[in-house]
């Protein structure tokens, strides 16, 4: 079976879910692997997530972690609802 190309919204959803599953915070390199992204892609998507206030960056010593915000959690729920709707009408 041919796998469907991931849309932008799917990638954002996968990133947010990856952070959520890691207890709400994740290292950028881990996020890259969990969301199956290249470094350049990660940078671009992360900028978008920060802009939309779905995530926050925090310095922990010399390392950086990404934290999911309430907006990010709400967005996950919205996407899940949208997917159930798409499932209902088989869109």
């Amino acid at each position: 079976m041919v796998s469907k190309k991931r849309e932008r919204i799917d990638i954002i959803y996968d990133m947010l879910v990856a952070i959520q599953r890691k207890g709400g915070e994740i290292k950028p390199t881990h996020l890259m692997y969990k969301a199956n992204l290249a470094h350049r892609q990660l940078k671009s998507y992360l900028e978008e997530l920060l802009e939309k206030n779905f995530v926050e960056k925090e310095k922990r010593g010399d390392k950086e972690v990404i934290l999911i915000t309430d907006n990010g959690l709400n967005f996950i729920e919205k996407i899940q609802e949208m997917r159930r709707f798409e499932d209902m009408f088989k869109l």
């Binding site: 849309e7 899940q80 609802e81 159930r84 209902m88």
Partner: protein, 235 residues
């Protein structure tokens, strides 16, 4: 020429209320699909769904308005009692009712056809235009043969039901099962409407069945939302 069927008093407004309830359900699903489309604009199938539910809501609006005109005209002829005034009321209302019912039929047929296109995007554009033309013509012509409209509506419903059943077999969800059941009940309501000429109350029975159909679809939609609410509570 338009044929106005006179109903007994208990009947006034009952069908309008049932139609308004159906319209409410259609509008809720329409606004939700617009909301979800804003989240996922890359899914072009939303455009068909939004267009379909928009036309369906316009069709119900046209039907409700024309029925209000029918009933108010019937009251006017009873209360005024002056021949000239009555004649004027009838000529105005027949034009309004004619267009109202016509738009209701054309919009509802096109709505179901657009829903059908969600699962048949591969149909050539020229063929799509031809089908639209034929459905509009059928809307016009069914003015004298109303059962032609109800039968065509039923056939379109059956086509949509079969598309949904096939897709639901691949990836089964409760919500789709409710949608299929709702469409099947709507199919029954259309069959009921074809027997209106036997006795006017059959129309109200058909309307009630139709509302049950839309309510079943709404239950499926409610499951889409309520699942999220349950998760929130758990958290």
């Amino acid at each position: 020429m338009i044929k106005l069927i006179s109903f007994s008093n208990w009947f006034y407004g009952a069908d309008i209320i049932l139609d308004l309830l159906s319209l409410f359900i259609i509008l809720v699903i329409l606004f939700s699909s617009i909301k979800y489309f804003k989240l996922n604009k890359s899914n072009s199938k939303y455009k068909y769904l939004i267009a379909s539910f928009s036309l369906l809501s316009f069709s119900f609006l046209a039907k409700v308005l024309s029925h209000i005109v029918i009933y108010s005209h019937d009251f006017a002829t009873k209360q005024i009692g002056i021949i000239n005034l009555t004649y004027q009321t009838i000529s105005h209302s027949t034009t309004l009712v004619f267009w109202g019912i016509l738009l209701y039929r054309i919009f509802s047929l096109l709505a179901l056809y657009l829903f059908f296109l969600i699962y048949s995007e591969h149909i050539e554009k020229r063929t799509q235009i031809l089908i639209v033309y034929l459905l509009v013509m059928l809307g016009f012509l069914s003015h004298t043969r109303f059962f032609a409209y109800h039968l065509t509506f039923s056939v379109l419903l059956l086509l949509n039901i079969s598309s949904l059943i096939r897709r639901n077999k691949l990836h089964k969800t409760k919500q789709t099962s409710f949608l299929i059941t709702g469409f099947s009940i709507l199919f029954l309501s259309q069959l009921t409407f074809t027997f209106i000429s036997l006795a006017p109350p059959i129309y109200l029975i058909g309307e009630a069945i139709q509302l049950i159909g839309y309510s079943t679809i709404f239950i499926g939609f409610f499951k889409v939302i309520s699942n999220g609410v349950k998760k929130k509570r758990k958290n």
